[in-house]
């Protein structure tokens, strides 16, 4: 398979040009990944403005640290990782204590998984964004990015058991929220 060409240049050529400070190549790289990365940032934040700040900070880091790209993993994965790390750091900076949301108020007859399939990507993103900070990050890392609990515990400096319990709570909250959505719709 021939490599994807952007303005006549492959991704590898664009990265090499970025290393030399080629601003046009940087713009092409930005255009290649901006849509996907903005979606990532939206999932990790509660508000769009916050997501936009993270998105810009992360892209500045991408170009400033491009010489550190190791080349082993796809470039997109490397960029995504910077987005995630920036979002996590931003969450730490907020110094907001984790909201302690118990499961006691969540009803047992929560919505099943099938109801999520009927939602659009934007609605799913809003659902994830609406999760409390700690739960949102753990749900994103585990469910969407594919991190293990061990990796999450190392990344966030928490116990593995904490990661498991918060993931379970996040799922419950999502089920509760989607059920509320359906109730409103009905």
């Amino acid at each position: 398979m021939s490599p994807l060409l952007v303005n006549g240049r492959t991704e590898k050529e664009l990265i090499k040009a970025c290393l030399s400070g080629d601003r046009l190549a940087q713009r092409d790289i930005f255009n290649m990944y901006a849509g996907k990365m903005m979606a990532v940032c939206l999932r990790y934040t509660r508000h769009r403005l916050e997501a936009e700040d993270i998105f810009q900070d992360a892209f500045v880091k991408v170009f400033a640290h491009m010489h550190e790209y190791e080349g082993g993993a796809p470039f997109e994965a490397w960029v995504r990782r910077i987005m995630i790390n920036t979002a996590i750091k931003n969450n730490r900076k907020k110094s907001v204590t984790n909201e302690d949301i118990g499961l006691e108020h969540i009803k047992e007859d929560s919505a099943g998984p099938e109801v999520f399939g009927a939602l659009s990507e934007e609605e799913l993103t809003k659902l994830v964004s609406s999760l409390p900070d700690g739960y949102r990050i753990i749900f994103n890392l585990f469910a969407i990015e594919g991190y293990s609990h061990k990796e999450i515990s190392e990344l966030l400096n928490i116990e593995e058991s904490t990661s498991r319990s918060q993931l379970a709570k996040a799922r419950k909250i999502l089920q509760e929220k989607v059920q509320e959505l359906y109730k409103v719709a009905v």
Partner: protein, 454 residues
């Protein structure tokens, strides 16, 4: 994986959304602003560089001053030679000209004018003790005598109405006889590097480990100091080592080369190439075969009725044996094949710090110069061009471990400026098994160069 998780992953993993308007312009402006900010790492880099240069110079000066402490000035020593001029007026009383009086105040050394005598005997003598050559060197004669020498030709003019002498001479330097203490250079340095604490920092480690720039070529020149060690395999040669320590001193050495690097794994690079090293030493001695010829010009005036009507010039030659100081620069050259590994300790967008280690495999070794012979302490030449009947040195220097700290400043995306304090440790003696003194060099240097990544 939970069903809910699967739904979210399938739907959101590759989901794209609208990009905020003006995002690129904002990012571009921030990149421009960052590029124009003063770069503190440059100051840090320059500071380290300057400190290192001064440190190297201070160490070099310290070591040189310690090793040359055996050749002080001649003033105030009883061994200082004197030129003696005898005139008929003074009978047998010689007029002594010390070196200082000859050098500085020749007019004060004027010979009193003789009335009508037509000739004056002028002789020159030099203290025999001071010119004892190497031929007479024995265990009882300190090696420092070897450093006595005549240099810098000057003229002595003796203004007089009747006598004018011009004497070619040379300054005399007399060495103190005490043996300088040998000081060992010791470095106690401890470098601590923060371990990269978390996974997120691992990515910020190796700027060159990339499929984009996984090959590199380094061109470098290293300014070296060769610290020599001499060890006698037989205790009877301790004096020989002492003699050599007195007569041989280290001078500026260098190495240069080209090496190719290839990224082989996370933070790891391998290097090989070619390296040329030249360790230089200065050997100083009094050549016992040399003779100093002093030419004494005598101008005699012929008087008639109290007036000078003519003059006659006569020359006398005085031969002073074994007083020429000869300097020889010994050279130890080696061509090596470096096999090195580099591990990146720290990296950011401007700088990277790496630890380098490995070996230099010697391909060829040659030497040229002079030293005192081991048995009779007379200067002998050694060169690898000869058939080497003395059998002093090997033709191979073996394998030498190499270690360095490599600081790279990223000039551009492809070019780095390198500063690499380094050390090489010779594990094998350069001298042959038959030679009773083992000679090794540990080389400490600071390498500067450029790295091109492609």
């Amino acid at each position: 994986m939970n069903q809910i998780d699967k739904i979210f992953r399938n739907r959101l993993e590759h989901h794209t959304t609208d990009v905020p308007a003006g995002a690129w312009e904002s990012i571009s402006a921030r990149l421009d602003a960052e590029a124009t900010q003063p770069k503190r790492p440059i100051l840090l880099f320059m500071g380290i560089f300057v400190l290192f240069i001064f440190g190297t110079m201070a160490t070099y000066y310290y070591l040189n001053s310690a090793s040359t402490a055996s050749t002080p000035s001649a003033s105030g020593t009883s061994e200082a030679p004197h030129a003696t001029v005898v005139t008929p007026d003074q009978g047998s009383q010689p007029v002594l000209f010390s070196d200082n009086s000859i050098n500085n105040t020749p007019s004060q050394a004027a010979v009193p004018a003789s009335d009508n005598s037509n000739s004056v005997n002028v002789t020159s003598a030099v203290s025999q003790n001071a010119v004892a050559g190497l031929a007479g060197l024995s265990q009882s004669i300190p090696v420092a005598v070897l450093n006595e020498a005549f240099t810098d030709s000057e003229s002595l003019i003796i203004p007089s109405e009747s006598v004018e002498g011009t004497m070619a001479r040379e300054n005399i330097e007399v060495a103190e006889l005490n043996t300088p203490s040998v000081r060992k250079l010791r470095f106690f340095r401890e470098f601590k590097f923060m371990a990269l604490p978390s996974k997120e920092k691992q990515a910020a480690a190796c700027p060159f480990k990339s499929t984009i720039n996984d090959k590199s070529v380094d061109v470098y020149v290293s300014h070296d100091y060769g610290h020599r060690s001499l060890i006698a395999t037989d205790a009877s040669y301790e004096d020989h080592i002492e003699n050599r320590t007195q007569t041989e001193t280290p001078v500026y050495s260098f190495s240069a080369g080209l090496r190719f690097g290839y990224n082989v794994g996370y933070r790891w690079n391998l290097y090989t190439g070619f390296n040329y090293s030249q360790i230089n030493e200065k050997f100083e001695y009094i050549d016992p075969e040399s003779n100093q010829i002093r030419i004494i010009t005598i101008k005699d005036y012929i008087y008639q009725n109290g007036k000078i009507v003519d003059s006659v010039l006569t020359e006398e030659k005085v031969v002073v044996p074994g007083t020429t100081k000869v300097k020889v620069f010994n050279k130890y050259r080696s061509f090596d094949l470096p096999v090195l590994a580099r591990y990146t300790l720290y990296a950011d967008r401007n700088l990277s710090l790496s630890a380098v280690g490995g070996v230099y495999i010697n391909l060829a070794f040659s030497e040229k110069g002079m030293m005192l012979s081991k048995d009779d302490a007379v200067p002998v030449e050694f060169t690898s061009q000869d058939t080497d009947p003395k059998g002093i040195f090997r033709s191979q220097a073996g394998v030498t471990p190499y270690t360095a700290l490599s600081l790279a400043y990223h000039l551009t995306g492809n070019i780095d400026l390198l500063l690499e304090p380094n050390a090489r440790f010779q594990t094998r003696s350069l001298t042959s098994d038959q030679y009773p003194v083992s000679q090794k060099f540990n080389t400490y240097g600071i390498s500067t160069g450029l790295r091109y990544k492609f």
